[in-house]
Amino acid sequence: MKQGMMKKLTAGLMAVSMAVMIGGCGGTDKAPAKSSGAAKMGVISYLTGAGAAYGESIRQGLELARDEINAKGKVKIELVFEDSKGEKNEAINAANKLIHKDNVLAIMGPTLSSEMFAIGPMVNQEGVPIMGTSLTVEGITEIGDYVFRNSLPESAAIPQSIKRAKAKYNLKKVAIMYSDNNDLAVSGYKTIQQTLKEEGIEVLGVETFADKNTDFSAQLTKIATLKPDAVMVAGLYQEAALILKKARELGINVPVVGNNGFNSPQLIKSAGAAADGAVVASPWFPGKDDPKVKKFIADYKAKYNKEPDQFAAQAYDALQIMAIALEKSGSNTDRKKLREQLAAVKDYDGVTGKFAFDAKRNPAMDVNVLVVKDGKFTELK
């Protein structure tokens, strides 16, 4: 009996694989579909799950930019959103769907670096331009020629903040804390270590924590006894805020120099007065005296009833950059041309400042070093 079933099953499987083998006819490398004159852009974003807050900001930034671009009318952009849930397999499926079913022209995202490492090689192989708006770890654009990012890598941001903080606060010896289960924080930590070495600052101790940890008392008690001139922290804002609070409670009142994760209004909101003295380097500075920035903040607030964070701002700029390249390429379907035009983008003046792609498709842009003072990000001079 059982063997009979087995035979049936194997026969079935054979039949299916045969059908698959034989069935392939016609061209498969289809050009992106033309649809009502709008260029179809896929978006892979972390829309549900623990990191949904980031994905949501990105979505809102993109939508705001899309509406503005379409209202201007030089090019038309249609966004196709796919959720990755922050998981690599989901991101792979989403990318495959966008490329092979929706035939998008290019892809914005994904939100996490790990997702990009999983889909990047495949997307690159297919010749689809892809631009990360929130990826800050090392090695992203090394994946291939079609991989771009407009988010400043940590390796460019952190050295700036450490140098400025050293000059300002006369740092000689510091302690480091980083989240060891977060790729962004680990990458940030490596940059911190290297910069400290170059600057000749002594490292008194290194402590780790993990994302979603809530208790930092042990690490900070240890750090308090070392009496550092400053604490370097690499992590996300949620943990960073808790660390700031606990540190102040334990009497660590020195400056805290953070990585990209510090760059969020949420940091100040949840840490309150304890956030004072937090230092971060960022191209996005909401307090900048620039009409473009002010208009963006006002528009965003009007539409979503909250302050934009860096993820929204970077996503907004990313789509604007995409639109410039799209306009120059003059085609809604030519991925190769779009890639060439993207790589040539320079002198774009966005809400995160002056922007150009460098030779390795990373952003070349100015950095503001910010410090929290009386509950507000201000420039550290």
Binding site: A50, T208, T221, G272
Partner: protein, 293 residues
């Protein structure tokens, strides 16, 4: 630094004990590991937070609201996910899987309702910090320690002295006999689950206060620690839950203070695996209870 770390460890440990209490109560009576306890705890924390922010009722009100939420969730879980399994003979693993289902459901529901961002209680008077000969203790830490110790004592007393408590213990000894003795075991089971869940909800508020971050995945993190304590202390043992929790808290803190902080999250389960080699019934468990039913 040693004493400061000790204070840190005991504070952390008392929150673990609080959570483990709920696990152990349910296990004692139903022989079930309630995998959804962490999520009930998380829901309690959120409801407490909402009440504290919007209704301005202070800590006591938030605590009560959270406990009520926990009790309601516990009741629903009992009726929808546990009772149907008791009616028919199923493997002992069925309730485990069913409560995993409840936990996944509640976690994603919380994501929908409250969002993924961590929220914190409005600053209360408890931000005050005392300095005892260089050891810093915050008011929150004292409150948590007091409440969790108090709860444990009350619970012990209640289980030992009151009629209801005795019925619960009788049911946990042997359901059939308790039935014969005229105890309404069905009611007792519902009550136990509700009580345990109310404790969980209350614990949510306290932990939320202590660590200032309430978010949907906190249930899993804390739930895992509670599970570890459950095994450490011995399944279904209340003293075990108390001592096991404190032990785990101190062990984690000391692993950071005098060891390597990056292995902290492995301490809990590392301890379990070690314990399973040496004393599988747990620190306070009796031999007969070994391995569930």
């Amino acid at each position: 630094m040693f004493w400061q770390q000790m204070v840190n460890g005991i504070t952390l440990g008392s929150t673990y004990s609080l959570i483990a209490l709920g696990y152990t109560l349910i296990f004692g009576v139903l022989n079930i590991v309630n995998m959804a306890h962490g999520e009930i705890f998380m829901f309690g924390a959120f409801v407490g937070l909402m009440i504290a922010v919007h209704a301005n009722v202070g800590l006591a009100g938030a605590l009560l609201a959270a406990m009520a939420t926990g009790a309601v969730l516990g009741y629903l879980m009992e009726v929808l996910a546990l009772r149907p399994l008791r009616r028919r003979k199923v493997s002992e693993l069925a309730p485990l899987i069913s409560t995993i289902g409840v936990s996944i459901f509640l976690e994603s529901l919380a994501l929908r309702l409250f969002g993924a961002e961590a929220q914190s209680f409005p600053p209360v008077s408890s931000t005050q910090v005392f300095d005892l000969a260089g050891v810093k203790i915050s008011m929150v830490q004292i409150i948590i320690l007091a409440i969790s110790c108090g709860l444990m004592l009350v619970l012990r007393f209640w289980l030992e002295k009151t009629k209801l408590g005795k019925s619960i213990r009788a049911t946990s000894e042997n359901i059939e006999t308790a039935n014969l003795l005229g105890i309404d075991t069905k009611k007792i089971i519902v009550l136990t689950v509700m009580l345990a869940s109310a404790l969980g909800g209350g614990a949510g508020v306290l932990v939320g206060l202590a660590f200032n971050a309430i978010e949907p995945t906190m249930g899993i993190t804390m739930g895992f620690k509670g599970l570890a304590v459950l095994i450490l202390g011995g399944l279904g043992n209340i003293t075990g839950a108390m001592v096991g929790g404190l032990l785990l808290g101190v062990a984690e803190i000391f692993s950071v203070a005098y060891g390597v902080s990056s292995y902290r999250d492995a301490v809990a389960f590392g301890m379990i695996i070690l314990l399973l080699f040496l004393r599988p019934e747990g620190l306070f468990g009796s031999k007969e209870q070994q391995g569930g039913r």
